[in-house]
């Protein structure tokens, strides 16, 4: 599997789409977590809302701010990343090139998952780093004291974010393997992350109790619950503490394992055409 991991590393590092996705995630995170709220704060007339806007942007809230997007928009980016890392071989007809070199299908898939894990962690740490810089800049501009979250909170936040990011990435990988392609997998992944989840939460769940109950078992709401318990702003789309952090972590881990296992099973059984 080490050889497969090293091969996948070249492909991921030199692929422009990897960097483009990371850059989009970082830019969107900066814009909607810091720049837009700060512009709103600067233009505000003052009062309690204004104070809360400012305190939300300070370094003390770095953990919640950095993982708040993962239930929805950052999750969508991770789905695309998963599709590209796992499913790129379908688009270019390279499965045959890879497999005739002799690695087992499971070794190749393991290498892909490992690279996906490293990539998602890298994107996440980049988000934390940019958030730290932005929050310190705002604190300095507004003459506010800088209080960092504790190390344990940071590690927990990164771990939770990584779990959510990997879960979405594995979901993207499963879509790519199941559909044997990239385009449709990306499309369906985005429809799920950006449309279906919101429709269920915003329209169906308030009307139908069974949908509200079902939500507690779906990946998006569990991701939203986990980041909510770690301080993500409650007004961020998808952030809502429907279940406790323990259940959310368990459900997300089960989804991650299930997505990976089903992908592996399909890869192992199917012919490479």
């Amino acid at each position: 599997m080490w050889g497969s991991f090293r091969a996948e590393t070249i492909k991921a590092v030199k692929r422009p789409a990897t960097w483009l996705l990371a850059a989009i995630g970082w830019i969107l995170s900066l814009i909607f977590t810091y720049l837009v709220p700060y512009a709103g704060y600067v233009g505000d007339t003052g009062g309690p809302t204004s104070d809360r806007l400012l305190s939300d942007m300070l370094p003390a809230n770095l953990v919640g701010n950095s993982i708040a997007g993962l239930p929805v928009f950052y999750g969508a980016i991770m789905i695309i990343l998963g599709v590209l890392v796992v499913g790129g071989e379908y688009g270019w007809g390279t499965w045959k090139t890879v497999l005739v070199q002799g690695p087992s299908r499971m070794a190749v898939f393991g290498g892909k998952l490992a690279v996906l894990a490293v990539t998602t962690l890298g994107v996440l740490l980049g988000t934390f780093a940019l958030g730290a810089v932005a929050s310190v800049a705002i604190a300095a501009a507004e003459s506010q004291p800088v209080h960092w979250p504790g190390l344990a909170d940071l590690v927990t936040g990164v771990g939770a974010g990584w779990l959510i990011a990997m879960m979405w990435g594995a979901f993207g990988g499963l879509l790519a393997v199941a559909l044997r392609g990239v385009a449709l997998a990306v499309g369906l992944g985005l429809v799920w992350a950006l449309a279906v989840q919101n429709l269920l939460a915003g329209i169906a769940a308030p009307l139908l109790d069974w949908v509200a109950q079902m939500q507690k078992g779906l990946p998006g709401p569990n991701a939203g619950s986990l980041v909510a318990t770690l301080g993500a702003p409650a007004d961020t789309p998808g952030v809502d503490a429907l279940v406790g952090s323990g259940q959310a972590t368990l459900v997300l881990a089960v989804y991650l394992v299930a997505f990976a296992a089903v992908s592996a099973g399909l890869l192992r059984r199917r012919d490479v055409l």
Partner: protein, 297 residues
């Protein structure tokens, strides 16, 4: 003796369609084996089963005694299947680095194989910018990266210009001479006739012939055009026996060694026959191939 390639009753069905129907073939050590057949005959599916990309519905395939999927099954096999598949955003060299890492062979042979396919000057360019011929050559380079004992090439001259095709033939011959066993799928029969020791002909998913190129083409004959034809026929039958004389298209096909051409000519002339044409006629592999595959079709 462990054979480089051995299949027994290899079969692949997709629903009601039988793509490969009970193919049993062998490729012997050190030979260049031509795997021939029209488009859709089942060549590529057979090769995919050999390499473990496609699971057989029935039968078995072995490479150096190992079944597809066994650890080390492809350790000494290089393959180019149905065109080159590489990453367009990577350079040719980086694509070979990826291949080397998957195969665990290290990157020391990259320059060697780039030289073999004459691609070193463009190795730093992105694969997406390559011409079809360059892509094909990179595919062959990747297949050679392991310094394989068995090389499986599926239509390796696709997309190559005449000079590139000649280079490819030279390369295959050189590898064959050096002891590499080569299984070459192609529908360019002139190419196969020039470089292959044995051939297997597949049609309609079945192996319809397997032998040396010479055996498949059969013995050369003498073609004689002479007047009067009846007189020439009678004299030829008297000389050679009736079963070795065939009247066809206003002339005679004589099943006799080419070295006897002068003697046949002298005998016919002495008998008062005017010989206007006498030449050695060898069946081409293409003629044999068309006979075999048309019979199935």
């Amino acid at each position: 003796m462990t054979l480089p390639v051995e299949t027994e009753g290899l079969t692949k069905r997709y629903g009601h369609v039988t793509a490969v129907d009970g193919i049993s073939l062998t490729v012997r050590p050190g030979e260049v084996y031509g795997f021939l057949g029209p488009n859709g005959a089942g060549k590529t599916t057979t090769l995919r089963m050999l390499l473990g990309l496609v699971r057989p519905t029935a039968g078995s395939a072995r490479i150096f005694g190992e079944a597809p999927g066994a650890p080390g099954h492809l350790a000494s096999v290089g393959a180019l299947i149905e065109g080159p598949g590489f990453y367009p955003y990577l350079s040719g060299r980086d694509n070979l680095r990826v291949v080397a890492r998957y195969s665990g062979t290290g990157e020391v042979r990259i320059d060697t194989v780039l030289d073999l396919v004459d691609l070193r000057d463009r190795a730093g360019d992105k694969f997406g910018t390559y011409s079809m011929g360059m892509k094909q050559r990179l595919g062959v380079a990747a297949a050679l990266l392991k310094d394989p004992r068995l090389l499986i090439l599926d239509e390796p001259t696709n997309g190559l210009d005449p000079a590139g095709m000649a280079d490819m033939r030279t390369l295959v011959r050189r590898l064959g001479t050096a002891g590499t066993t080569i299984m070459l799928s192609s529908h360019l029969l002139g190419e196969v006739q020039q470089i292959c020791d044995r051939v297997g002909v597949v049609a309609g998913g079945r192996l319809v012939a397997e032998s040396t190129v010479a055996q498949l083409r059969g013995q050369a004959t003498l073609r004689v055009v002479a007047e009067p034809l009846e007189h020439a026929t009678a004299r030829a039958r008297a000389l050679l026996g009736a079963d070795r004389v065939r009247v066809r298209d206003g002339g005679l096909d004589l099943a006799v060694e080419p070295e006897k051409a002068a003697w046949v000519n002298a005998e016919l002339v002495d008998a008062g026959v005017a010989v206007s044409e006498l030449r050695v006629r060898e069946r081409t592999l293409e003629e044999v191939f068309l006979e075999l595959t048309n019979d199935v079709g």
